[in-house]
Subunit: 171 residues, 2 copies
DNA sequence: CAGTATCCTGTCCGATACTG
DNA sequence: CAGTATCGGACAGGATACTG
């Protein structure tokens, strides 16, 4: 991820990408969610070059997604443990996973997500925590938050004026 | 995104990244969800170089996220309309957005997601469509799907043997 | 086992100029 | 307005060799 100066680092999604925008970052996190914590576990699982893994791990640690923790004194050995921030990234991976399974699985899924206890497959969707209403591109909008800048307010106003059914291809 | 040969393109999340792994792709989609459809709308909104925008738009169109549709005969003008596949990507953007707002907002959010009708902020979470149970990294696992390969089965077995509470940093 | 050190290639991206 | 053409730079990622 090159440094980005776009006015749009005001958008949380854009900021998120500055954190995990590299290809491998997300896959490393995916494996971390499976319980992987060690260098070689990641390396073998991903088939990634060690220098690259080292770089990405360092970056993710710096970004506060992992904590590097000593698990053996001699020889000194570290493991990479997800922080709260890292763990909270889970929905992103799940969303990506679900989308991939629906739209990119070449005739049938190779992998499914399942409840840990019942082992029954789950079908992940986004809902509002309060109302439990499903969140889709048609029923939510962006609104200014407490720290919205002047420019952001203007932008949001102009968006409101947009043809709202732009994404109504074939429906 | 360089071509990846890792055995792990078997994972839907990895395949998804081959589709939208570039930085701009997701931001373009984000804007598309706001109702943007035209070249210059994207260009101005993102502050992206036209050649790059052209490339990304072509790639996303090829990947089946957008459909390029003629909206004016003379002069010939195209707009980029989200397909069903593209629209289904929304949860990923929302998840990214929510995570960014929680963990990267420097004292207060500039933007919030809200219900389109009531304009009340929503708090996006992942749940199982059936049971409505919340999906977290601790209560779901990967299981083999109908098309799981031999290698995948072996891999999943080995994961099961992993210390299951690896991500229990400070909790 | 857990990395670091080098070298190399690809390409993503930025800037800019130009066209119907 | 909606792009294409060209050039250059930065860096992610690959391959490989080496260390405690």
């Amino acid at each position: 991820m090159q440094p980005r100066k776009s006015a749009f680092s005001e958008c949380p999604a854009a900021r998120a990408l500055e954190c995990v925008g590299e290809w491998w970052s997300i896959l490393i996190l995916r494996d971390a969610f499976q319980g992987f914590t060690r260098f070689d576990e990641f390396r073998q699982s991903l088939g990634i070059a060690p220098n690259i893994l080292s770089r990405r791990l360092a970056h993710l640690t710096e970004a506060g997604m992992f904590e590097r923790r000593l698990y053996s004194e001699k020889p000194p050995r570290h493991e990479y443990v997800l922080t709260a921030k890292g763990r909270d990234f889970f929905p992103v991976v799940v969303a990506l996973f679900a989308w991939g399974n629906t739209h990119l699985a070449p005739k049938g899924e190779a992998l499914l997500l399942a409840d840990r206890k019942t082992e029954r497959p789950v079908d992940p969707i986004m809902v509002d925590a309060g109302s439990k209403a499903r969140i889709t591109s048609t029923n939510v909008v962006l609104i200014p938050g407490p720290r919205a800048s002047r420019g952001m307010l203007k932008r949001l106003a102009s968006i409101k004026a947009l043809r709202p059914t732009a994404y109504s291809l074939e429906e």
